[in-house]
């Protein structure tokens, strides 16, 4: 009997950490607030009680130093998982991550390794503003030696977390906070995940939507509504930012007649979409039969005020209307947008999610 269960993305992460702590005696789980009453949006709940305060612990407010300390522990054979509640705080770890963690194995001729996971949370909501809601995945993915993954589904969250912890390289594990609430199937017996490769979330033959993290959910929403109008979009969840799977995109384009839309939750110049596009063009330039589209955030910080921030984030509506334009079906735009419109402010993923966090 396979153990397939429905759980939220956040619960899947908790369960993966729990299982990994049991499986890897050398694993450590450390970060500001890991054992506090809110337990990183409940993703580390109960783990200290179960696995001990030596292995599940809080830390001083010293992101740079503690990252280095975790790298040192990793060199000595531990498997630390270090958590930052916002990716913005990980900027204080950048020197250690980039100069040490990402280089170590290479620099010392493959003799040493850094099995370190950095969990970071990105995403918008409730006026997080310019310094608390950045999307820096592409910046990190530019660093050779660092693996960067952004799982979107609960199942991937579970398996990617286990794979990241088992991996002997530094892995940046990026969670969009709005994914935490989304429920999906987790099949624990599924084959172990690699930290590369895109996933087909929805099959289709009219257009390829290649998306990252929460934008994959928006692409799915758009695809579902488009399907009601007889438009069949294929949705690929890119999942792995440092190992972009252009082969899967090319294969999808062969089915969809070379029509590509890419959606990333990042400002234009920091979007992995550009990287994906350029790699695709270089490797499979002829797979594109018309100009591709890129749906990303504007290239400036997000202001706090919800009155304007609500207009900063593109979503399913922008994806759907771009698709209709690409397919020459703009006459459908008004009704599709109407169906996708929600009365929820865009700083709230659902009605259960209220401030301040």
């Amino acid at each position: 009997m396979r153990d397939v269960r429905l759980m939220s993305y956040g619960e899947a992460i908790r369960e993966a950490l729990d299982d990994a702590l049991a499986q890897f005696p050398d694993m450590l789980l450390i970060g500001e607030g890991v054992p506090d009453p809110k337990t990183i949006f409940a993703t580390t709940q109960g783990l200290r009680e179960k696995h001990g305060a030596d292995r599940v612990l809080d830390m001083p407010l010293a992101e740079n130093g503690m990252t280095g300390i975790c790298i040192g522990a990793a060199l000595a054979g531990m498997r630390p998982v270090l958590v930052h509640q916002r990716i913005d705080f990980a900027l204080l770890s950048v020197d250690q991550l980039v100069n040490n963690a990402a280089k170590w194995h290479y620099m010392f001729d493959g003799q040493q390794q850094v099995p370190l996971v950095i969990r970071v949370i990105i995403g918008r909501g409730w006026g997080q503003g310019p310094q608390h809601s950045q999307s820096l995945q592409a910046m990190f993915a530019q660093v050779p030696g660092l693996k960067v993954v952004m799982p979107t589904t609960a199942g991937d969250a579970y398996h990617f977390m286990l794979a990241a912890i088992a991996d002997n390289n530094p892995v940046l594990f990026i969670e969009h906070r709005w994914l935490h609430h989304i429920i999906g199937e987790v099949d624990k017996q599924a084959p172990a995940a690699g930290l590369d490769g895109a996933a087909v979330m929805r099959e289709g033959r009219d257009v390829t939507l290649a998306a990252f993290s929460h934008m994959s959910i928006e692409a799915l929403k758009a695809a579902t509504t488009l399907a009601e109008h007889g438009i069949d979009a294929e949705v690929l969840d890119m999942r792995c930012v440092s190992a972009l799977d252009v082969e899967s995109v090319a294969a999808s384009l062969a089915k969809t007649g070379g029509k590509l839309l890419i959606a990333d939750c990042a400002p234009e110049m920091a979007s992995s979409g550009h990287q994906l596009l350029s790699k695709l063009v270089l490797a499979h330039g002829d797979s594109l039969k018309q100009a591709p589209r890129l749906i990303v955030y504007p290239n400036h910080p997000v202001p706090t005020s919800h009155y304007v921030a609500n207009h900063y984030y593109p979503g399913a509506e922008q994806i759907a209307s771009a698709v209709l334009e690409m397919l020459g079906r703009s006459e459908l735009t008004a009704s599709v947008i109407g169906a996708l419109q929600s009365d929820l402010p865009k700083d709230q993923p659902d009605r259960s999610f209220v401030g301040p966090f």
């Binding site: 607030g33 506090d36 310019p130 202001p303």
Partner: protein
């Protein structure tokens, strides 16, 4: 010198103003119109007020995520603070910042930002520039004999918490500030917690101010809930910094009453020791000061009631003004990316 009677009354009024403003924010936060993370400073008012009492408009303040009290104590504009919380164009950052990013240059409040430690070196850089301007170094003049500044200079204050003291940038800044003998005040608000993590999980048992002192600057600790004590310590520290005696460090012990972020109390979560919050409430900076005022017959119930009435009106009017704010234009989002 302990504050003169008129000063003590003024300090009380300033603390009461911050308390009532924060309480009003907490009450209205539930309406979900202030849609930004908001860190209240209820319980910690004496530090902002006792320090800022010695500052002129020319002196500058930098602050952190818990900045409302610092902003108000420095003379920041209450209606514009509230408009900022509501995300309106009239806010002190035009709605771009919310509670965690404040500025009021007219009042000498340069900025608060929420990346812990982020503003600490900025304050030092500002103080450095003030020092260079003063000595003429910035204009390329020969430096003043002996490297001492001849007369009083503007000072810069950086407010931060015990958690911030753990950041590397703090220690890098202390080093430089002492090296250059900057006119800078480090004010550590030690409330024992970083979010919900107690000091003992983050730092070994030793005094923060002594670590600072080991950098070679003048550092003392005191009761951050006694505004008279803060006032005295800050008076000496500001005078020293103004007179060219270099950076000064105050570690002031206090306690935050509400949750780390948000309008509510969270004592039920159990991260504080049982009775800890209650004990700190007995040491409320306002209660203590009021008692002193009454005991010494420097004030009476009637006068205090009048203060309350006056503040209630001011705060009510400030909210009324803020709530009439206008929504920032969507296009304004693109402005100011570059100067």
């Amino acid at each position: 010198m302990s504050p003169a009677s008129a000063d003590l009354k003024h300090l009380y009024y300033q603390m009461l103003r911050i308390r009532r403003a924060e309480e009003a924010i907490a009450r209205r936060y539930a309406e979900q119109q202030m849609r930004c993370p908001t860190h209240l400073c209820i319980g910690e008012e004496a530090i902002a007020v006792g320090v800022c009492a010695h500052l002129t408009v020319q002196d500058k303040v930098f602050s952190n995520h818990r900045g409302h009290g610092h902003y108000l104590a420095k003379g920041g504009d209450l209606p514009r603070l509230l408009a900022e919380l509501y995300g309106f164009a009239e806010g002190c950052c035009g709605g771009r910042g919310g509670s965690m990013h404040l500025t009021d240059l007219d009042a000498g409040f340069v900025a608060s930002t929420p990346i812990v430690g982020g503003t600490v070196p900025l304050a030092a850089g500002y103080a450095w520039a003030e020092q260079m301007k003063k000595s003429g170094a910035a204009q390329g003049c020969a430096s003043v004999a002996g490297g001492r500044m001849p007369e009083a200079t503007n000072v810069v204050v950086i407010f931060f918490g015990d958690g911030c003291f753990e950041e590397g940038v703090m220690h890098e800044t202390l080093n430089f500030a002492v090296l250059k003998q900057l006119p800078l005040l480090f004010i550590c608000e030690n409330n024992q917690y970083s979010v919900m993590t107690p000091l003992a999980e983050r730092q070994p048992k030793r005094d923060i101010y002594k670590i600072a002192a080991a950098h070679g600057l003048h550092a003392v600790s005191g009761d951050g809930n006694r505004v008279d004590e803060v006032y005295e310590l800050a008076q000496a520290a500001v005078a020293n910094a103004r007179n060219g005696l270099g950076p000064q460090f105050l570690e002031l012990h206090t306690h935050r009453w509400p949750e780390h972020c948000g309008p509510n109390e969270d004592d039920d979560l159990g991260y504080r020791n049982p009775g800890e919050l209650a004990a700190w409430k007995l040491r409320c900076p306002l209660l203590q000061t009021r008692q002193t005022l009454l005991d010494a017959q420097l004030s009476d119930d009637a006068e205090i009631i009048q203060m309350e009435t006056c503040l209630a009106l001011e705060i009510e009017q400030a909210f009324a003004w803020a709530l009439q704010g206008t929504r920032p234009k969507i296009d304004s989002m693109r402005q100011h990316l570059y100067a």
